[in-house]
Subunit: 141 residues, 2 copies
């Protein structure tokens, strides 16, 4: 697996307060905001930090996994739905537990969630609406 | 504050198991390993993921802060000890709580820890042994 993260996602109990802190307090510009759901900030070349409403974060991990949710996911994007499947299987072979098997979402996204032996939740995703420009800027949607 | 993270640090209950997963399972190369303490992996241009022994992680945040430790810190590096002070104050003015005021460490490092309104712990640091090459590679020590 490429040694690269693409998203870091934080379960966010109060999205509006977080938004005020990052935007007005730190002066950061959002790459994308989905009202009441999620705000993305670019925090390194090719890397987005996602502030994800905590209830929706739990839903996204499949609901049933909620008791073990760590409040953070590390996301790794790959080139195809098949590669999501291969990468998820490779992580499981290396000792990770599959929390939510691969499934399709809105916008042609395919993803799966696994928990690594350190207890950290990873998302392995294929997202046709996500790309990195030559200058390292992330474009979404 | 620049819209840039430099380190993401995870409290790691079992460092050796985590090391086996990231190194042998994912095939990742460490930038730096300090035996029994911390392992760094570069995960984006200019960005390191740190796996930090959970007990030492708690110590680093000042011990007394342990009950509120979230298990993740976002680190932002700045150019001088004075800038650590200024940035920490700016974050406090924007609604963050200072967990550990600025202090000096080994190697000429100065840092402080603050908790943002989202409950996430940030480290603001000046580290003279850390730099990013023109190619985006992180060099430590």
């Amino acid at each position: 697996m490429d040694q690269q993260l693409h998203f870091i996602t934080l379960a966010t109990p109060d999205l509006e307060t977080a938004r005020r802190f990052y935007r007005d307090g730190l002066g950061w510009d959002a790459t994308l905001e989905v009202d009441g759901e999620i705000i993305f900030y670019q925090v390194a070349p090719g890397l987005l930090l996602g502030l994800f409403d905590a209830d929706k974060f739990a839903e996204d991990l499949g609901g049933g996994a909620a008791p073990g949710i760590s409040g953070i996911t590390l996301s790794h994007n790959v080139g195809s739905p098949e590669e999501v499947h291969r990468t998820t299987n490779a992580m499981a072979s290396a000792g990770a537990n599959v929390l939510k098997p691969q499934q399709g979402l809105f916008g042609g996204i395919f993803h799966a969630h696994v928990r690594d032996p350190n207890g950290v939740v990873w998302e392995i995703a294929h997202n046709p609406g996500w790309r990195i420009t030559d200058a390292g800027e992330v474009v979404l949607g």
